[in-house]
Symmetry: C2
Subunit: 383 residues, 2 copies
């Protein structure tokens, strides 16, 4: 399992599908966010990429009454190379941090990766620190952001362990079996892991970070496949005297081969990686991006392309910020005026500078900077 | 469950019964211990109270070649009052520490008590600190002993958590179900707890305590009911590159009502508590200690008492150090010369000063002393 990764799940992206009582992020909510922050809503919101939520209205109620919150997101560091899909929650979280001006904790579940993969503890921790560089390169505020490896931080915060054990007391094997599909042959580490992903939802897990302040409201931006963890967390929260975390869910990020194929970090052609060269980006998109175009130019001109299944167009909805341009491309492609090759060219020209800029920023992230982000310390924020 | 407590198990003490491939502590081994330490073996060894072991011969092989080891034992702090049965592993561990001159770590599984009982995390931690006072009163060397609460220490030692997660990766739910009888309705905290009791068997859980030295051999003196934890630990050890801990097992400690009844910390009459007054001790023994004597004085004189079921006599085997006196009492009781009331009087006169002395020593244990024992620090020992 790949906890924090937005991924395709063997079916089409459904921007509307809501799960187990989560709510749609509708125009009203987006307008409220705009009013509360005084900022134009992020295109991930405008385009339904973050499409579902739990209790975001309560976050805004409180925020309008000068009561702030903290952000929590994370990543399971399975390998050194991250792909662009991994960036989605971080790009959005960075925007949330900026417009709401709030602190942020980022969990690197290296313990989880050790448990699930054929990997040593040392390797998992090494990946965590490597991945932290890509995360930091997204532009988080060093004074308001704490990044932690479980393997490291769990052993430096009694508050964190206390919350873990509290969650573990209130969740049965039957429950995690139902939620995560564990079986009797799974190791006890996997079985108890959900509590470790749950605990950072409670500010008392971070006494040093939040200056001992408890019961601060938490908001979790994450890919929709993480929702089961936090549904579980929200069930437990009132029983251990903690506020339920609110959630913002993003859609699955599609593989280049199409939303119906499973993305795999071990297949370099399944997505664009943050380490790809301009040439690799070009080749991958041209060779592998599933096309919603017609079989021949003639048919394409006549019937037009299908944006709903065209991966190049999907990727552009994620990464092309200009709304007008995107709408233009959509119309031209749908009408048959724009050919697949031309659409791919737009995507290539969007991704190449984006990845190059990321690589440039990542180069600036020294081990010293990583160490600063990962040092438990009071964040520059008063609740 | 009461992890660390020696207890009766609804059947008679069996000094000989060996489990799952453990070995009897025979005269040869006792003689070897005497030769290695140059000290008379503890009466718990001489009388078969510590009756079974795993790999104690290897400990002695290494010790004779100037390779030392560390001791690990523990307790689940379920309530403030400990009874005399709880002292058995600690009295013996203190002796081992003295005669072998080795460091010692003592785990207080307050997390376990929180998980199993209707108790807050704060209360469990409070009990841990209270229990630590009774443990310290047994006379451990402050320079060579580290006592830790899981709730506290797990959050201050990444090395400890790393070993926990390593054990958790190598034990399945099926295994803990088989060993501990967990069911699908048990909380995931209980299910993963065995790894937390396992981890202190590895010196890398204590980088500060052992100055970063890994793979130090561990010897665990404990009551026989703890063996399942350490059988599991020994199975996992080679798979995570750690030495198997060696073990010394004590028999169950009988309740006053007899070895066949279950001892309960909530029943003040089931044993002698460390807080009992001389009068309470006298009353309890006279009223509740199961007698192996006959129904009438006449019958007793004629047929004699049965030391095998007489709880007063059993308690004397634990607490009366004088071998000759014990043998005298046994003969006199068995022959009918000594009456139950007289045997009880001997026990009362043994326990009253023992408990009073314990209470006196416990009074000297200030919060400051507890804090010193519980502070992670390098112990005064070089491996």
């Amino acid at each position: 399992m790949q906890w924090w990764r937005a991924r395709s799940k063997g079916r089409q992206n459904s921007f509307q599908e809501l799960r187990f009582g989560s709510s749609k992020i509708d125009t009203d909510l987006i307008n409220r966010i705009e009013r509360a922050t005084g900022q134009k809503p992020h295109h991930f919101l405008r385009r339904g990429i973050f499409f579902s939520h739990r209790d975001m209205d309560q976050i805004l109620d409180a925020y309008e009454n000068k009561k702030s919150f903290y952000l929590y997101t994370g990543r399971g560091p399975s390998s050194q190379a991250m792909h662009v899909g991994h960036l989605i929650p971080f790009m959005f979280t960075k925007w949330l941090q900026e417009v709401f001006d709030v602190p942020l904790v980022i969990q690197l579940t290296d313990d989880e990766k050790y448990l699930w993969k054929d990997m040593t503890v040392e390797k998992a921790y090494e990946y965590a620190k490597e991945n932290a560089k890509d995360i930091i390169a997204c532009g988080f505020d060093i004074n308001k952001t704490f990044i932690f490896s479980d393997l490291d931080y769990l052993g430096t915060s009694p508050g964190f362990y206390k919350n873990i054990v509290k969650v573990q007391k209130h969740v049965t094997f039957n429950q995690v079996k139902g939620i995560f599909g564990f079986t009797d042959s799974d190791c006890i580490g996997k079985i108890s892991f959900p509590a470790i992903q749950a605990a950072p939802s409670f500010s008392s897990s971070f006494p040093q970070i939040f200056n001992g302040k408890e019961n601060i409201q938490c908001l979790i931006p994450c890919a929709i496949d993480q929702d089961p963890y936090f549904r579980m967390t929200r069930d437990v929260a009132p029983r251990i005297g903690q506020p339920k975390p609110a959630l913002l869910h993003s859609v699955f990020f599609p593989a280049l081969q199409g939303a119906q194929t499973k993305m795999s970090a071990s297949d370099p052609n399944s997505s664009i990686f943050l380490t790809d060269t301009p040439k690799q980006i070009k080749t991958k998109i041209n060779k592998h991006a599933f096309s919603g175009g017609r079989d021949t130019i003639e048919e394409h001109r006549k019937y037009g392309g299908n944006c709903d299944v065209d991966v190049s167009f999907m990727y552009l909805t994620f990464f092309l910020e200009d709304d007008d341009r995107l709408e233009q491309l959509k119309q031209a492609y749908t009408s048959g005026e724009l050919l697949t090759g031309e659409l791919k060219k737009v995507l290539i020209e969007t991704m190449q500078p984006l990845i190059a800029a990321h690589q440039e920023r990542r180069k600036q992230v020294t081990d010293e900077v990583v160490k600063q982000f990962m040092t438990p310390r009071k964040l520059a924020f008063e609740f």
